[in-house]
Symmetry: C2
Subunit: 251 residues, 2 copies
DNA sequence: AATCACAGCATTGTCAACAATATTTGTTGA
DNA sequence: TCAACAAATATTGTTGACAATGCTGTGATT
């Protein structure tokens, strides 16, 4: 995970967020809070940012090279989406959902996503279908090459892209938010074997859609979500030694 | 509280927002952005704030008696919920959804709310049932007394309370957001007769829930939403002379 | 009379200093 | 050694001033 590229200010950065900055993707000339939000979103989605991690304003400023105002606005937006908890006079922390909230998140997903799957079957445009197919191939490629981080991200993105395929951007945003929060939940309560969505399940859902079988698409989504949910173990929350780990890293 | 400053600058206020401040409800000692967000939310829900109304920072500061920071944070939060549009160097405006967005909002509602109605039937707690009953009686009371504004607000709130009755606060927040945006849409494209939800429809839905008839509850919600949607007329958007109205008030 | 340029004003965007609070570190005493 | 207390530091919250931008009204020119 986030280790090498920070030549100049290695310890001034927040774990896991800035990583991709050294990739070839050119940064937008004008960094706005949306960019920061996206980055933190991704980091959470890929399990690079653990729940309860403190998000220090100053470090974030250095990391993204922006003023404090931008960082603060970004954190506020993230908190409104339940990804970050803001505690007054304490700071911002990556959200650490408990069992109750986890139940609500998966309850909402169970309500939304099967219905979305059904609707996608109803009216799917060819190009969106192609998008989904491409995504599935990316997933299996990542799986075959054991690119764990990519697989985690792609697993989540599938659900978002399916929602996008429904053509309703509002629904898509809602799903995106739920999936990201699910990522936090899985990170906390997931048993090791279920870090990602089980193999082939996404592919099966896509098949049902291709066959125009809305019933199958819906029930497969239901079972898929149930499987993820069943992979959680609330009685054994993972220890959160984030602070210690960070210290070991820094020295 | 903030009840004293308004006698002095009555015309420095933004239309429709501060109204209720003169009621007996004591203001929270420490006004935070949540309070401002709630107020603007309510004003939109009750059609007191028309789409495309400019939300001047300075006026909002005076209206709520807070600093610019609070107002800005509130506006940012509202924009993240699609209630407000932020245009750089121009300012904040009450969102003015077009037909496309309206379609998405009602599409999302059509997906969500019938499923919620069904789920509420599945496991409803007595006290929540009672809450819904009380709400219905409030609605009919407002209807009988021709308290139009109250009725508009209550019409929207019913949908939110139904979502709350499902016990899933995440779903409830999503519905709340959608209902508020619907309020904007109805204000723009609604024919006069459909400013509120048709009479008795909510009551019918509640009956179905009381009878434990999940199928009926679901289909009635579907039809209810369709009825609202059918009351929209996108070819004849209402004129938006908001600014003029404000000018008339101010001078 | 209509149009354009420009000046002045109003509004929003940005930043840096300051205040308030929390956290860490250091010290003292039992 | 440990606990309790106090100083020092770090972090967040808030405010105000300033810069940048957009808007409006005036007047000159055609």
């Amino acid at each position: 995970m986030g280790s090498e590229q920070k030549e100049r200010f290695p310890d001034e950065r927040v774990d896991g967020i800035a990583m991709a900055e050294t990739t070839k993707i050119p940064l937008p000339s004008r960094i706005d809070e949306t960019f920061i939000v996206e980055r933190i979103f991704s980091a959470v989605m890929e399990h690079r940012l653990a729940p309860a991690t403190k998000l220090n304003e100053h470090k974030l400023c250095d990391t993204f090279g922006v003023g404090r105002m931008r960082v603060r606005r970004a954190l506020l937006l993230l908190s409104s989406q339940g990804i970050v908890d803001l505690e007054t006079n304490k700071g911002a922390f990556v959200a650490s959902p408990g069992p109750v909230e986890a139940n609500e998140v998966f309850g909402a997903r169970a309500l939304l996503e099967p219905a979305i799957a059904r609707q996608v079957v109803a009216d799917i445009e060819p190009e969106r279908m192609e998008m989904l197919r491409q995504h599935i191939s990316l997933e299996s490629e990542a799986r075959n090459n054991s690119r764990e981080t990519d697989l985690i991200r792609l697993s989540g993105e599938f659900h978002v892209k399916l929602a996008l395929a429904s053509g309703n951007s509002i629904l898509a945003r809602a799903v995106r938010e739920l999936v990201t929060r699910s990522s936090l939940i899985v990170g906390l309560f997931g048993t090791s074997s279920h870090a990602t969505c089980p193999a082939d399940e996404h592919s099966n859902i896509l098949c049902a859609i291709e066959n125009g079988d809305s019933d199958s698409a819906e029930t497969q989504m239901v079972e898929h979500l149930n499987r993820i949910r069943d992979g959680l173990n609330f009685s054994a929350p993972k220890p959160q030694e984030r602070d210690l780990a960070e210290i070991f890293r820094l020295k």
